[in-house]
Symmetry: C2
Subunit: 216 residues, 2 copies
């Protein structure tokens, strides 16, 4: 009756949408109930109060982002394995790795709600999940380590892996933040331009044959 009842699930979806769009304080229990076609008191059958309703959303955030970066890590090691012992990095490989998490995150409306809710940060009654962790520490550590390994294997050009990770991820996060106002395909297209430029800059190319000093 409490947590997994279908009505409770629908209430969670509606609450996520409303809280993320208007903020905790500006959403009344009546608003949430109205989105389900019921009246406010009925919500109290499923949640002890407004704060509990909000609190029930927070684990969704942690779970979503934990899975997101797990999928990114998976795509990374898959790419790494496919490189072989002394591989070159193709632009399409880098794109495939990133789009493995970026494109679903860009298209999923629920992911957009979770992102907005995260961005609202400390506006709710509870502190909420840590944007610094999920949007920076975790993904930065992931990409920093990955770039470091790719540099060590001479797949990428030498550079500060931390700065590289920031410069790689920050433009992508900017596009995600625009996802509810812009065409996803246009955003994906711009992500592609960014990824390609990053590749052009940092990917090592096949060593040129040593120049012959004399022709023929």
């Amino acid at each position: 009756m409490h947590p997994d009842h279908p009505t409770a699930q629908r209430a969670l979806e509606a609450a996520l949408e409303l809280f993320s769009r208007r903020g905790y304080a500006a959403v009344s229990m009546g608003d949430v109930a109205g989105a389900l076609g019921i009246k406010a008191p009925s919500l109290y059958k499923y949640f002890a109060g407004k704060e509990e309703l909000y609190a029930a959303l927070l684990p969704l955030l942690d779970r979503h982002y934990a899975e997101l970066w797990a999928s990114a890590a998976e795509a990374q090691s898959q790419l790494e394995r496919s490189l072989g012992p002394a591989g070159l990095l193709a632009s399409g490989q880098l794109e495939r790795e990133t789009f493995a998490w970026f494109r679903p995150e860009l298209d999923d409306p629920q992911a957009g709600c979770l992102r907005r809710l995260m961005a609202l940060g400390p506006l709710g009654p509870a502190p909420g999940p840590d944007p610094d962790r999920w949007l920076w520490r975790e993904p930065l550590a992931l990409y920093e380590g990955w770039f470091q390994r790719l540099i060590a294997r001479e797949v990428l050009r030498r550079g500060d892996p931390h700065v590289m990770a920031v410069e790689y991820l920050a433009p992508l996060f900017r596009l995600l933040a625009m996802a509810d106002r812009a065409d996803p395909d246009a955003l994906a297209e711009e992500a592609l331009r960014h990824i390609r430029q990053f590749h052009r800059i940092f990917a090592l190319r096949a060593p040129r044959p040593a120049p012959r000093l004399f022709r023929r």
Copy 2:
């Protein structure tokens, strides 16, 4: 008595701080008044209502960002003039140009409030100023044009100026967004690492003397 009275000014400062930190709906007129040491009814001597108080903050945002990007444009053309006809770009010059607007924006607490208020976006009663414009369209157009000119003058390496501008600005904006939770000097230090890496990648160096094929 209405707009420029000292008490009205203090009310605007307090409202900016409170609205930006807790959001419009969660701040009461009593909260704002309390921050000035007066009671709620007195606020109505200066503002017709809560919405007018909020609305009075919006021009501050437009003005602040208009001045911000104007100062960036000024620093850019100053750097451009100092390059001379066929100049090389020193890392310190790029840093000086950027820090002309970045460092004040990083340190000024009022700028931080304005940034948070802008980030709250459409949570207030009025639509508010456009974050896409002030945080992306304006600065991107500025840096895009600048990079384009620097590429044309062979100061910067060839590349997509739009992507370059995004890759230059997005990491800086990330640091600004962290400004109320982190040490400003540490953030400035990281900005510096970013600027230096960007310079290392994109700045053209003096053409090396042609390699001699035989030593001595």
